[in-house]
C-alpha cells in the first residue's frame, strides 16, 4: 500500500462526492419540501400553541411560564441561590464527601456532565441573536433570569436524586419521569403517571430535535462557513458515525476524549473573552453603562426596553434549560445520601452557563462595538427591516460572535468552529442519553429496544445536518419547552418535599451533625 497515491485517491473520491452531491442536493430540496409540508401541516398548531404570545404583546407565554416558575421557587426557598454558594462550592470540591466513597460519582462529575449538555450553541449563537435584536439591555435581563433560574435547577435536581432508581445490578438513574411518578404517589396525588408519560414523550421528541437535529445543522453551517459550501449529509454522516460509535459501538474513548476537550474549550472560550475584555479595559465601564441604560430604555432597539427584556429572558431560559428537567437526569447518578446536596451543586449550573459564559459572549460583542450606533443620539441604528440592530458587515448569530472575537484575535474564528462542533457533539451525546432514559421509561429496558432508539437517533443526525427543516426545528424546540410545562407543574406539587429536605439538612448542618471530611 506504500505506493498508493493519496492525491489521486482523494481526487477520485472528490469526483464521486461532487457527482452524488449534485444529485443529493436535488433530492434534498424535494425531500425538504415534502418533510416540511407534512410537518407544518400536522405540527403547526402545536408549535403555535407553545410559542404563542400573550395577547397584544410579543411575549411568548412559555418564556413567562419559565420565569414565573423561577420567581416562585426563588421566593419559596427564600432566595437560597444567593445564600448557599459557599456551601455549594465546598460540596463540589468534595469537602463533604466521605473519602471511603472514592470511585463513586462525585458532585463535580455530575455537575460537569450536566454542564456539557447545556453549554453549547446557545451560549455562542443564541446570545448574539439576543443582542442583535434586544441590544445590550438584553444582557441585564438575561443575567437576572439566569440568577432566578438557579432556584428552579435546585428544585428539580434535588427531586431527581431523591426519587432515582437504584437497580440491583448497581446502575443508578433518575429524572423527572421518576420523580413525577413516585413523588405524586408518595403525596397521594393523582396524575403523576400521566405527567411522567407526557414528559417522556416530549423528552424523546426534544432529544431528536433540539438535542440532535439543531446541533447537527448548526455544526454543518459552521464547518461550511469555513471550508466552503458542501452538502450537509456529509457532515451528517460523519457526525452520525461518531455518535453511532459512542452510543451503539460502545467506543467510550471517543466520548471520553470529547468530555475532556469540551471543558477545555469552555475554559479557552471564557479565557479568550476575558483577554479581549482586558485588551479593551477602558471600555468596560462604558459597556456596563450600555447594558444598564439599555435594560430600562432600550437605547432605540426594536420594541424598546420590553424588547430587550423579552430577548434576555428568552435567551436565559433557552440556554440554561432550568425548568426543562433535562439536567435532573444527569445529576441523579451522584453518590450522596442527601438529595439536597445535589440541588445545591446543580444551582451553580445556570450561574456558569448564563451568568458567566453567556455574559462573556455578550461583553465581547458589545466591547468590540459590533453594534452600530448613531453618533449624534447615541442610540442604536436599526437594520433595513427594522427588526434588529444593524451590525458591522450585517453579521447575525454565530457570525456576529465570530466577527467580535476575530476583530481582536484574527485566528480565533477557527478555534470557534472547532468549539462549536465539539459543543454540538457533546450536546448530542448527552441528549441521546436523556432521550434513551425517557424511551426506556415508556417501553421498558431491553437491548433491542435501546438499539432501535439509538439507530433512530443517528438517522436524525444525518437529516438534521442535511436539510434546513424549519418546521421540524420549530417543532423540536416546542417539544423541549413542553417538557418544561409538564415538569414545572410537577415541581409546584412536589416543592414541599424539597422544602422538608432543605430544612432538615440545614438544621443538621448547623448543629454539626453533617461534618466536613476534609
Amino acid at each position: 500500500m506504500k505506493n498508493f497515491s493519496m492525491p489521486a485517491a482523494l481526487a477520485a473520491v472528490g469526483t464521486v462526492f461532487c457527482g452524488t452531491a449534485a444529485i443529493a442536493q436535488d433530492e434534498d430540496t424535494s425531500l425538504d419540501d415534502r418533510v416540511n409540508d407534512i410537518f407544518s401541516d400536522s405540527t403547526g398548531w402545536f408549535v403555535n400553541l407553545v410559542f404563542s404570545e400573550f395577547p397584544g404583546t410579543d411575549f411568548p407565554w412559555i418564556v413567562g411560564w419559565l420565569v414565573v416558575g423561577a420567581v416562585v421557587f426563588s421566593i419559596y426557598f427564600g432566595f437560597l441561590q444567593f445564600r448557599v454558594i459557599g456551601h455549594s462550592l465546598a460540596l463540589v470540591r468534595g469537602q463533604y464527601s466521605d473519602p471511603n466513597d472514592a470511585g463513586e460519582v462525585s458532585h463535580f462529575q455530575a455537575l460537569a456532565t450536566a454542564l456539557s449538555g447545556t453549554v453549547g450553541l446557545g451560549n455562542i449563537a443564541g446570545v448574539a441573536v439576543a443582542i442583535g435584536i434586544g441590544g445590550p439591555g438584553a444582557i441585564f435581563w438575561m443575567i437576572f433570569a439566569g440568577l432566578l433560574g438557579m432556584a428552579t435547577k435546585f428544585t428539580e435536581c434535588t427531586l431527581g436524586v431523591k426519587y432515582r432508581n437504584e437497580y440491583a445490578d448497581g446502575r443508578v438513574s433518575g429524572g423527572p419521569m421518576y420523580y413525577l411518578a413516585k413523588g405524586f404517589e408518595e403525596r397521594g396525588l393523582p396524575g403523576g403517571k400521566i405527567l411522567a408519560v407526557l414528559f417522556s414523550i416530549f423528552c424523546i421528541l426534544g432529544a431528536f430535535g433540539g438535542g440532535n437535529m439543531f446541533q447537527a445543522n448548526q455544526a454543518h453551517q459552521q464547518i461550511s462557513g469555513v471550508v466552503g459550501d458542501f452538502p450537509g449529509w456529509i457532515t451528517g454522516l460523519v457526525l452520525a458515525g461518531f455518535v453511532f460509535a459512542v452510543t451503539i459501538g460502545g467506543i467510550k474513548s471517543i466520548a471520553r476524549v470529547t468530555e475532556k476537550i469540551v471543558p477545555f474549550m469552555g475554559i479557552l472560550y471564557v479565557g479568550t473573552a476575558l483577554i479581549i475584555i482586558a485588551m479593551n479595559y477602558e471600555l468596560i465601564g462604558w459597556a456596563f453603562g450600555q447594558i444598564f441604560a439599555g435594560a430600562f430604555t432600550g437605547l432605540g432597539v426594536a420594541g424598546g426596553f420590553v424588547g430587550a427584556l423579552i430577548q434576555g429572558f428568552q435567551r436565559a431560559a433557552f440556554s440554561n434549560e432550568a425548568g426543562v428537567g433535562s439536567a435532573a437526569i444527569a445529576h441523579s447518578a451522584v453518590k450522596t445520601n442527601e438529595p439536597i446536596t445535589e440541588g445545591y451543586v446543580a444551582l451553580l449550573e445556570p450561574f456558569v452557563d448564563t451568568v458567566v459564559v453567556c455574559t462573556m459572549t455578550a461583553l465581547v460583542i458589545i466591547i468590540t462595538q459590533q453594534l452600530i450606533t448613531d453618533p449624534d443620539t447615541g442610540l442604536y441604528v436599526l437594520n433595513e427591516a427594522g427588526d434588529a440592530v444593524r451590525t458591522i458587515d450585517d453579521n447575525t448569530g454565530v457570525g456576529l460572535t465570530s466577527a467580535a472575537f476575530g476583530s481582536n484575535i484574527s485566528w480565533f474564528p477557527y478555534i470557534l468552529v472547532i468549539a462549536v462542533v465539539l459543543f454540538a457533539f457533546s450536546t448530542m451525546i448527552t441528549w441521546s442519553y436523556y432521550g434513551l432514559k425517557a424511551w426506556t421509561f415508556l417501553f421498558g429496558e431491553g437491548e433491542t429496544k435501546e438499539i432501535i432508539f439509538k439507530v433512530i437517533f443517528c438517522v436524525f443526525v444525518v437529516i438534521g445536518a442535511a436539510a434546513q427543516l424549519g418546521p421540524v426545528i420549530d417543532f423540536s424546540d416546542a417539544a423541549i419547552f413542553s417538557m418544561a410545562v409538564v415538569n414545572i407543574i410537577g415541581l409546584y406539587f412536589l416543592m414541599p418535599i424539597v422544602k422538608r429536605e432543605l430544612t432538615s439538612y440545614a438544621s443538621r448542618l448547623k448543629s454539626g451533625e453533617i461534618k466536613k471530611f476534609q
Binding site: V105, E259, T430, Y434
Partner: protein, 144 residues
C-alpha cells in the same frame, strides 16, 4: 517491636519485592501485613452520562476484580505461611491513600517498591515514592 506494616501492592515485581521485605520483618519481629491496593481515581475526571449511571456498578466490579486477581492469592499464600494479613482495596491517589491507611491502622511502617530507573517521567510528574516520603505519617521503606 511488633505492629502493622502497610505494603503498597499490585501485581508488579517491585511490589513483590516490597512484600518480601515486609514479610521478612514480620517473621523476625512479629506483626501484621496490611496489603494495600490502590485503584487510581480522581473525583475531577469527566464522565459521559452513561458512565455516571454505571459508575457504582463498575466500581463494585473493579474492586471484586482487584480482590480476585491481585490480593486473594497473596493473602492465601501468606496465611498458609502462618502470617497475619489484612487487605485494603481503595480508590484514590496512591501516596495519599497509603498514608491514610497507615494513619487509620496505626501502622509502624509503609513499605513500597520502586521501578528502579530515575526516569525523566518521574522528574516531571513526580513519583509515588517521592510523594509518599514527603507526606507519610510513619517511616517509609522504599525497596529498590
Amino acid at each position: 517491636m511488633s505492629g502493622k506494616f502497610v505494603v503498597g501492592f499490585d501485581d508488579s515485581a517491585p511490589a513483590r519485592r516490597a512484600l518480601d521485605f515486609a514479610v521478612e520483618r514480620v517473621r523476625a519481629q512479629g506483626g501484621t501485613i496490611v496489603l494495600a491496593h490502590v485503584l487510581e481515581w480522581s473525583p475531577y475526571s469527566f464522565l459521559s452520562p452513561e458512565e455516571l449511571e454505571e459508575r457504582h456498578k463498575r466500581r463494585r466490579e473493579e474492586m471484586e476484580r482487584a480482590k480476585k486477581a491481585i490480593t486473594d492469592s497473596v493473602v492465601a499464600e501468606l496465611e498458609k505461611a502462618g502470617l497475619s494479613v489484612e487487605t485494603e482495596i481503595r480508590y484514590g491517589k496512591t501516596p495519599e491513600i497509603l498514608s491514610r491507611i497507615a494513619k487509620e491502622k496505626d501502622a509502624v511502617q509503609i513499605v513500597i517498591g520502586r521501578e528502579g530507573q530515575s526516569s525523566f517521567g518521574a522528574r516531571v510528574f513526580g513519583s509515588v515514592a517521592g510523594a509518599l516520603v514527603q507526606t507519610a505519617p510513619v517511616p517509609c521503606t522504599i525497596v529498590p
